[in-house]
Symmetry: C2
Subunit: 323 residues, 2 copies
Amino acid sequence: MEKIKQLQQDFAAFLAQTDFGGNPKELYEPIAYTILQSGKRLRPMLCLLANDMFGGEEQEALWPALALETFHNFTLIHDDIMDKAPMRRGMPTVYQKWNADIAILSGDAMLAKAFQYALQPKKGADLAHLLGKVAIEICEGQQMDLNFETLGNVTIPEYLEMIRLKTAVLLATALQMGATVAGADEADITHLYDFGINLGMSFQLQDDILDLYSDVATFGKKHGGDIAENKKTYLYLKALELASEKDRRRLEYLFTLRMDHDEEEKIEEVQALYDRLHVKEAVEKVMLDYDRRAFAELDAVGLPEEKKAHLRTYAELLSGRKK
Amino acid sequence: MEKIKQLQQDFAAFLAQTDFGGNPKELYEPIAYTILQSGKRLRPMLCLLANDMFGGEEQEALWPALALETFHNFTLIHDDIMDKAPMRRGMPTVYQKWNADIAILSGDAMLAKAFQYALQPKKGADLAHLLGKVAIEICEGQQMDLNFETLGNVTIPEYLEMIRLKTAVLLATALQMGATVAGADEADITHLYDFGINLGMSFQLQDDILDLYSDVATFGKKHGGDIAENKKTYLYLKALELASEKDRRRLEYLFTLRMDHDEEEKIEEVQALYDRLHVKEAVEKVMLDYDRRAFAELDAVGLPEEKKAHLRTYAELLSGRKK
């Protein structure tokens, strides 16, 4: 835990000394506003922990860590425009606080900045290449997500591929970048990457659950927002799979109602239906399965257990294995 | 001219063999749609010509050339959302043909792809670094442009700084990238960069003129579009400078009218006012001054004249010195 706290502090200090200012201020204020909001710093932490595990220099790994956090925040700014999300981390989103044009443009600048940060260390070209790859994958994932809004029948494999691209690959790349900076061998980098993929899948399913089964104070988003927006999450797809013909038709109908309908009532009815079908438990089972696979990949990394301890602890904390 | 045609063909062939496809198709179709439209390929040509001038390998320079064209098209896709431009090169813009979400996302993917292309040659890290720098400058320029829409008093120096950032730096960077790939020395790269800046300023002023003093068939955009959208171009700012108090007030009033007003009538009145004040001639004078400065920088490059001939010819063709 000491190591985790230290890396968190080091990253916070690195962020604090980074200059996010510039002119015109309309371009730069949203960047600082977004990136300096308190966040879990999950991707930087995965990068720093992976680098530390293989004995890499922290000073070098702070750059890809910053690149990852900047990149991640760029995706949030642009996604929030598309999702018309008013709030994020309990604060107004950039497109809401400023406007969509500014949100597009500061996002673009952040994406460019992310590449600049990634290029700083000795292995900069490799890191920038990984960033380019993951950036394109995430665009693919987001486009799939947008397609799902209007698509009649989304399958569970399609949904899983979407969250792999939209969420999991970035966690995997964060680990890969950290290990790359440290000069880890290819086989270990691949295990760590696959650890990240499975962990990411597990986290996203957890997010799907938390969107409904948590409250706004702890999660920072509106309760049942996915249902209100007719998002075809794993919960919804699993419910369709488990439902009787009659329930299925009702659920599909509810997911055609637009925002102007009584939102609370709709969320309540869907939740009652999910509860009756034990959807939450079914999704948790799949989530835990990804979780198990993730840690099997970590086990396979060719390092003594004590080297993996910090990353393991960190991932366990996040996945709720450890409180 | 043979060399210019050959490089144009080589770049066209390189583009044709590049795979812009992928899934989901909603993400990739707009990319191919935009980048495969016929365009001048100005930035790739500047890159290839600069590389050729210093005896660089064409095969290496084709990558930054592709990066520049991809990057440039990304800026068009995003700018068209912000400018609500329905047409570009005589074709519907991406946000118009698909929608704004798709335009945001395919633009993002193109920006990431541009970095991937820039990273391909041996000097990839340097090229990606230059791309990152210019990308941020262009965002600054576009934000200034957006600010000007609502700003009461834009000065001529502010306008010039905006077009430097929004247009000129990318032409300069194209030359810089080509010369960098070829291993030119710093002093020459700087002269070439400054050549690009001045050429870019001249081109943008020419564009400002052409927006009003040309027709849709040859220019591919609506005649007087800048006036219809109340864009404070150099023409407008120069007119304010030259106008009597009465004309100035009238012009400022006309530039507060929104689209729902009779557009044609407004464009005609503004044009008549410009003509009376000889605004076109005044802007042309400034344009030619940038043009002169550009070629003085080219003269200063430490190479025998015959090495500069192709780039000189190409730039002269574009700036209208040579027909």
